[in-house]
Structure formats: C-alpha cells, structure tokens
Symmetry: C2
Amino acid sequence: MKHRPIRASILTHNLSHNLSVVKKMTNDRPTWAIVKANAYGHGLEPALKAFSQSEGIALLDIGHAALARKLGWSGKILLLEGIFSESDLNEVNALSCDMVVHDEQQLSWFVGWLSQQTPTIKAVFLKQCAIWLKLNSGMNRLGFKSAQYGLSYEIFKNLGCTVNHLTHFANADDSSKSPSVGSQWEIFMKATQYVDGLKSAANSAAVINHTQTHADMTRPGIMLYGASPSGVYQDIAHLGLKAGMNLRSEIIAIQEIQAGDRVGYGSQFEAMKNSRIAVIACGYADGYPRHAPNGTPVWVGKQGNIADGQIAPIVGRVSMDMITVDISAIPDAQIGSPVELWGELLPIDEVATHANTVGYELMCGLASRVDLEIL
Amino acid sequence: MKHRPIRASILTHNLSHNLSVVKKMTNDRPTWAIVKANAYGHGLEPALKAFSQSEGIALLDIGHAALARKLGWSGKILLLEGIFSESDLNEVNALSCDMVVHDEQQLSWFVGWLSQQTPTIKAVFLKQCAIWLKLNSGMNRLGFKSAQYGLSYEIFKNLGCTVNHLTHFANADDSSKSPSVGSQWEIFMKATQYVDGLKSAANSAAVINHTQTHADMTRPGIMLYGASPSGVYQDIAHLGLKAGMNLRSEIIAIQEIQAGDRVGYGSQFEAMKNSRIAVIACGYADGYPRHAPNGTPVWVGKQGNIADGQIAPIVGRVSMDMITVDISAIPDAQIGSPVELWGELLPIDEVATHANTVGYELMCGLASRVDLEIL
C-alpha cells in the first residue's frame, strides 16, 4: 500500500548536531531550544529526543508542555507567551514550567491566583517555577516598557518569586534596520542593571551575529532546524548546520509538450521549445508555497538513488496537490523517480528565497496530511 | 483551562447552503463535492455531513476514502488522481471507489492487476468502480493527450469497464488567458464524440462562468467553502455563498507606542503618530499568511459580541505566533477582545487578496495546532 508518495523525514541526528553547533558558538551556554509550532513542523517528540542536551525547551501552549512532560521531558520548560488566563496557572504549577510575564494583565492574574493558594502550593510554585519578565526594548510586540519594568520586578520579588529577564530583538538578522540590536541591548541592560536574575536575549540571529548578547541563556530556534534566520542560505553556509527535514515525493506523471504550450492554472508558463514536464505529488495543500514562481528549484533524482540527481525548475503555478517541473534536461527521470522539495540535497532557504519567504514559514506550514517519518 | 485562544469554527450549515447554491446554478445536476486536502482545511467529517446531498465526493488519497467509508459515507467516491501504485487497486475495489486514470502507467497497472483477479473480484470491480478517463485538453498537468485517448478508452471498454470522461480547465476564472475554456471544451467534446459515458469538466469557476460545460456532473470545490475561485470576493459577492469557516482569536496584549516607533521583525511599520497596537494570538504557524502586508484587514469585536466590531489594519510583519494591528480607532478594544481573521464577518478572499494569494491556500494552510470546532 503506497498511496500518495509525499513524505517528510525528520532527521533527528541533524537536529542534535545543530544544537551542538549552537553550544560551540556560545561557549556551552545553557539553551532554551525553541520547540513551539510543533517544533517548527518537525514534531515535538523527535525534537525532545534531539534536544536532550538542552537545559530547557520553550513553547507556547500549556497543552504542549503537558505533552512534553508526558513524553518524559524532565528539563526546564518555558512558556514563551506566559498564561492566557488565570486558571492556566494551576497547570503551570503542576507541570513545573517557567513562564514569561509580558504585561500587567498577566501580572494581575498571577497576584490574584497566588493569593488564593494554600501555603504548600504557593511554596511549590515559588520553588519550581521561575518568572521570566519580558522587556519591550523596541520591538513593540510583547513586553513591559522600561518605565513599568522595575515595579513589576519588585512585585514578583516581594511575592517570593525567582525573577529572570528576557527581551526579543526585532532586527538581529539585519544591521541596517532600527531599532538595532545595540540599542535594544542597551535598553535591556539599563532596565535590568540593579536587579537579580538570569538574562536571556539571543535568538538564532543574535547567536550568530551578536556574541555580546548571548548572556545567561540563548534561545535558538530556526538554526536548530538547519535554516537561516535571515532566510538567506549564504548567511549560514559557513556554520555547518544540517537540514532537519527532508520533504520528498515522486514524479507521478510526465507530459511531453510542444513549443507554445502552456502549463497549469493561469497559464503562467509557456514553453519556448518542446519540453518534458514532470508532475510531482506535492502542492500548496502539503505546505509547498503557492508563491513559488517559475524557476524555483526542485531536486530530481534517479530511480533508486535520489542523491544522484540534479535541479529542475518549477514551470507553471503551484496547484493544490501538484507542482510541475521542466525535466527536459533529465532524460533519466521517469514516473516514480524520487524528488526532494527541500532538505539535505536542496536547502529549504533556497526554496524560501524563490518564494519570497523564509524557511520558518515553510517548515511550520507543513500540512498534517504529509506523513512524518522519524529517522 | 483556556490556553492559546485561536480556534476555527466549521460552519456546517453554511457548507450545506453552498452546495444548494451550486445545485440551483446547475439545474440540480449531480455533483462531485471536492473534499481533498482535508476538505480544504474544514475537516472530512463535517464536510461529509454538510455534503450529504451530493451524489459523490472526490479526493486524492485512498486512506481518506477509507476514512469516509468508516464515517458512513455511502455515496460515490472519486479518486481524483487515481492510483499511485498497482496495489492501491485492492483498496479501490474494497472501498467501491470510482477512479481517474490519467496516464499509461496507471492504465498498465490496471491491466496487470485485473488479469490477476478471480472472476468474482473482477466482476465486483467492474460493477462497482467506474473509470474516469482524464483528457489533457490543454492544462498540461494530468491527462491523456487526444491522440492516446481513444485507444485508452477502447482498452478499458474491452476489459468490461464503465468508462466516463473528465477534463480540467486552466483558466475558467480568467477569460483573457489561453487556453480558453472554449478551446479546452472543444478538444474535450471532440475526443469524446464517438464514445459512451458520462462527462465532467466544470470546477467552481466553470460552474459560475461557463454554463455550457456543466455536462453530467460538476466538480465544485472552493465555492462550497464560500470563497472565490478567482480569489476576488467581488466575483462571487452576488451568489449568496456563505463562509465555511470562522477563524477567530483574541487580543493578548496591547502596546501604546509613540510616533516614530517601529513594530515587529524587520521594523516593517513605523508609526506616524502615537498609536495603540493590539497583539493577536495568530501567526503564520497557525496558517495566517506571512505575506500579509501592512493594511491587511482584521475584524476586531467588542468584548462579548464580536459582531459589534470593525476592521483594524495589520501593522508590522506577521510573525510565527502573533500579528499586530492598529486599534487606535477602537478605544473599546482591550485584552481579551475577540477578533476574526476570516469568516462570516470578514471574507477570506479579502485577506487573500491583500496577501497576494487565494482563499484556497489560506483554508488548506490552517495548521493542525488550531483547534477545529464543528458547528
């Protein structure tokens, strides 16, 4: 039983390797391995296995924290957006999570909740669950402004909490933009200069580009999965990161077309000469970007050996379940030939660049109808 | 327990309504309701319920056909891309599916398989499972060329099969493009003029724009889900189609920013005046399009009554888990206020148009981490 031939293989050993690269780049600093969004599409379970050497994992939803505990994760867990209601705190405590607090609403929920707990429960929370106070240092998404930061810190401290500090960079991958990492870092340092606690600021881009921000814990995400924070493969080509996922499928049909013939919806491609067009079982409902224009690379391998292959360009619009590529230059390609949409043979960043997006979106967009194979 | 507040409600009654619109537009012709790609993101189970008045459903993967039978679907099932290997035919037979045959490889698998079956099994197949021979009339994706079509028909007929006929239009939503519906239709009529069997050609765009192609069975997809085949809402505004899905979430934080402040990754938005920015729990890892630029509409409702609301524009880049919108004009909006990303209050086509894509991609791209609520 074969069915539709598209599948994603998760390369657990490559994910582990990428964590070791981060560790080396940061002098073995503790890490929060970012596993939100179902580990950027790679699946929480293989990610936990791959990142067993990380001091902590960071994610969004308490349901996923519960799953991680169920799967045996005994390290730290950080809830990156904290709680979404006061009652979430019961689970934060039960699951021994650290949590971000990013605004007064969350602070107020916490103060209310804590006041209603028995001394025993209160003591357990204060021992097990650290607060990571988030500073808005210029990204203007989540976080307290500097003016409120000190007071928030004092409130948590007076309640007996362990309070750590965290901020997030808007432009760690692009030094031409304002606010710069330098200015955000300065604001973060100033807001936290008189207080205790660990500090964390560096996402993947800052791990790579801004050593001075590595601080007490880094928060690598995209680089753990082998892709570039900037979306440009050349920016990470020297780091030795490896693909976390091979998305592969097969040729399911071949059309011999004549010069002047068009291919696909909207007739976005017109053949300049007689051509051999392969139809591949992969479309935007699998998570392949519909924006990918003519010329986006697809790796086409020989039957039985995908590594022995070459790039073929997409021709015609990506449709829901299929893409079409020009294999005129690959006479060996036939129905059943294996193809790689992205992975070890074709960096996901190269596909993303053609589609005017970033590897993050492609990984996270992998559809549930694509079977995951854990290697 | 509330957790992250994003969820998608599937509006089963609206899906049913949309089918009745199709029926009215096509003089009650039989329909294949297209439910591939997990019913365009709406879930196979609610779709089967909603489309109970359809003569058949059409999808891609035999696994999903098996699920449909398990869920009690007793109508016809069409495998739109046919089989992916010879052994798939055992299941095609067991599940009483009709199947597309689009190339010689599939034909050859079928001939081989049939020759190995017992007379009983053979008889069951020939009685239960019709062949839908697919003609490539100019889209150059799947299908036999006209030159091979007649011979393929004869082979199936000689084996005792019920053979029907099908083709697919490249430009049913755009009369400026070539090949036109007229030219493809002419090629289809010519290839099938001397043969028996039902004919099917009309996708949603042809149901709406090309009455002459309705033939024996139509194949509506996107219009059943309440969106426009062209991606332009105005093209369907007069049809009375209703949204199949409400994607809703909440404001989880609010930032008061100053003129000159920037918002989000890459600082894609700079405030011209002091502004109130809402952070919404929805990002591209939920399936919201990362391409959505500043100005993309989001519906922001009043606490407790989402219908009493108004549009607010996205400001700043869509990030993995959050979007930011300018709510300066909505003083009532606060943390916890409900928002609609697309649905009955804000057509999905309007979001798609801003993001330079089509509603199809948005629906199909809904991430598995978003809970579905079936209404």
